[in-house]
């Protein structure tokens, strides 16, 4: 018998080469961008944090030092750090407890209405958050809309102090961060197979049991990524405590901002930034571990 074996149309080596070039070509703009605007600045901050402050401003590169880190271990600064962590944590929890039922509700509504509800969440994003924060001030301040109305209606005699306290800072934080909690929660809840809840009820679980044993574990990844997305940026949100907390509330983000802008102590500001970055890494690690080895962090 005469068997003819033809050449394969192209060799495997060529194919491999093509496969390798593709992703690199696509990624390179991103890589260059990240190098210039992320990696280099971080390195500069790390370097700056180990030197002294310059005479007027800037950095005196003459002698490296750990002083910036050591001086952070002061009672006042540590209190600011803990206050900030507490506010971030409370903000995260409030967002979670408000956001979960909302996301659940949206995921359960018929498809045609879901877009509307999600729009309600996303729409405020189209306005600058600074402007939205000013809007809150107009609502809350002593001569603001709420107080004026309550006074006119004779419900109160003296204006309530709604602004410039911890509550108003929390309000602003929750308001700003809420979508970051809802969206990841929605995306996991939307994927949740509701027949599993029927199965749980069928097997004798009351709605609460079914929620605790089925819904909650299956939406854990959404809870964790939502919490991370709220917790981390809240720690760095400086304009809300600035605007809504007045002079009484100083959070870590304000502290950093002040080091760079008013105190002109760039090395100290850098050191605090590095401490925060390290803390964040710690939290991220913790959150990922809580998510279990199987569930990867799912961010939207």
């Amino acid at each position: 018998m005469d068997l003819k074996i033809g050449k394969p149309p192209f060799t495997t080596r060529k194919v491999h080469k093509r496969e390798f070039k593709g992703p690199f070509a696509v990624l390179s703009p991103v890589i260059v961008w990240m190098l210039i605007f992320f990696v280099v600045p971080i390195i500069l901050i790390i370097i700056a944090s180990f030197f002294n402050k310059g005479d007027l401003a800037g950095i005196n590169y003459s002698s490296p030092t750990f002083n910036n880190y050591i001086s952070f271990l002061d009672e006042r600064y540590l209190k600011i750090l803990f206050d900030s962590l507490a506010i971030s944590l409370i903000t995260t929890l409030i967002c979670l407890f408000l956001g979960y039922p909302f996301a659940y509700f949206v995921a359960k509504t018929p498809k045609k209405y879901r877009a509307l509800f999600l729009m309600m969440i996303i729409l405020p994003f189209w306005t600058n958050s600074l402007i939205r924060t000013y809007a809150w001030i107009i609502l809350l301040r002593t001569e603001g809309i709420i107080n004026t109305y309550l006074m006119n209606l004779h419900i109160i005699k003296v204006p309530l102090s709604l602004l410039y306290n911890q509550g108003s800072v929390l309000l602003g934080m929750v308001y700003t961060m809420f979508p970051f909690m809802v969206l990841p929660l929605y995306s996991t809840l939307e994927k949740l197979d509701f027949s599993l809840l029927e199965a749980a009820q069928d097997l004798g679980a009351k709605p609460f049991d079914a929620f605790m044993r089925v819904t909650l574990p299956l939406t854990k990844s959404g809870i964790l990524s939502g919490s991370l997305l709220v917790f981390v940026p809240t720690l760095g949100l400086f304009f809300i405590p600035d605007l809504m907390g007045g002079s009484k509330i100083t959070l870590i983000s304000n502290l950093i901002k002040n080091q760079f802008l008013s105190s002109r102590n760039w090395p100290f500001g850098s050191a605090i930034s590095i401490i925060i970055i390290l803390l964040m890494f710690g939290f991220m690690n913790l959150f990922t571990r809580l998510g279990g080895s199987k569930d990867k962090m799912e961010v939207m």
Binding site: P110, D193, S195, L196, E198, A199, A200, Q201, D202, L203, G204, A205, K206, D209, R213, V214, P217, L218
Partner: protein
């Protein structure tokens, strides 16, 4: 055991509120039986099952389980369990925890849970799979876990919603027999929903055929197959030839039905008055091809069209005078030689046809 009393279901979001998904169904399920609700998709069979389970509320009528009216009870208050179409295994729990779910909800002692789970694992032949996660199981294994999970609490009734739908043909056949054996072993009443008529015939003690939200016929598999009451049942279950016509002449012991230009003498001793419109159904395997009919045969002359080889049987399609087609199936070893004679007659015994209103 389970009784449905004039049950009606109309969905709120239905486009047409007039058409009920389930329309006035009354049904009694006996203890220990394997009952199949059979029907095409959209006939209301799954809705009926979901109402028994408690996932849907009846718009009207009542459901009784063990003589207790459960119409207003939640699923977790009813002693019935369900095997879902997609199994609905908890993806975050392993096989053991899935099966143990019902007992751990009841806060049963650990020892008891362990005992029962391992016993059930043996029953469904999944020993050693305790630690597998659902996504590591094959379709057939998932199915078994779903069954084990549903029966661990000794439900009075096990509801199965097309549980074999996702399996391939061969596994499906195997599971049909296994499920039947399992039901006999467990002694639990099974209510099985399917659209597969063959499956229904193989597995059931009784079949309830549904169409458009109503029960068409309720009976044993051979009643359903041999003596279908409605045209729908005859058509849906197995293959059937229909003869439609008007009674032309009433004789003492039989009637003569006219089908177009054909006269068919028929009807097993039952006499119909002249002018009655009837439909007459006869299974392909009850028909015989002959060169000349004998005196006690009912017959129609027909013209050969084609033969289809199926394997165990050979189907012959013939055309009648009036253009209608008729299918006959013959056992592979016993085939009429169509070239043997000029005329071909389709014959049957008068007792083999069924008159359908």
């Amino acid at each position: 055991m389970v009784r449905l009393n004039h049950v009606v279901k109309i969905f709120d979001d239905q486009d047409n509120l007039e058409a009920a998904a389930v329309n006035d169904i009354s049904l009694e399920i006996r203890e220990g039986e394997f009952l199949t609700i059979l029907g095409p998709s959209g006939c209301g069979k799954t809705t009926t099952l979901r109402m028994i389970a408690g996932f849907e509320k009846c718009t009207n009528g009542d459901i009784f389980i063990d003589n207790e009216n459960v119409s207003d009870k939640a699923p977790y208050e009813r002693q019935v369990n369900t095997v879902f179409q997609n199994y609905a295994l908890f993806p975050h729990m392993n096989v053991y925890d899935n099966i143990a779910f019902a007992l751990s909800i009841k806060k049963a002692p650990k020892r008891e849970i362990e005992e029962k789970v391992s016993k059930l694992l043996k029953t469904v032949q999944l020993e050693g799979m305790e630690n597998r996660m659902p996504d590591q199981l094959s379709g057939g294994q998932k199915q078994r876990v779903a069954i084990a999970r549903a029966v661990i609490n000794n439900p009075k009734v096990l509801l199965l919603d097309e549980p074999l739908g996702a399996l391939d043909q061969k596994l499906r056949k195997q599971m049909q027999v296994e499920l039947k054996h399992l039901q006999q072993k467990l002694g639990i009443t099974f209510v099985f929903v399917t659209h597969d008529q063959e499956e229904a015939l193989i597995m059931s003690d009784r079949i309830c055929v549904m169409n458009n939200g109503s029960i068409e016929q309720f009976g044993t598999p051979d009643e359903i197959y041999e003596r279908p009451k409605t045209r729908f049942v005859a058509d849906f279950i197995g293959e059937t030839n229909f003869f439609e016509g008007i009674i032309k002449e009433r004789k003492e012991n039989y009637s003569i039905m006219q089908m177009g230009s054909l006269d068919v003498a028929t009807l097993n001793g039952v006499v119909y008055s002249e002018g009655t419109t009837l439909c007459f159904a006869i299974r392909p395997e009850r028909l015989k091809l002959k060169a000349s009919p004998t005196s006690d045969d009912c017959y129609i002359k027909a013209f050969y069209k084609e033969r289809i080889y199926v394997g165990s049987v050979i189907k012959t399609v013939l055309t009648l005078n009036n253009g209608k087609q008729i299918t006959i199936s013959e056992a592979s070893g016993d085939i009429f030689d169509i070239n043997a004679s000029k005329d071909i007659f389709v014959t049957w015994k008068s007792s083999q046809g069924v008159v359908i209103n």
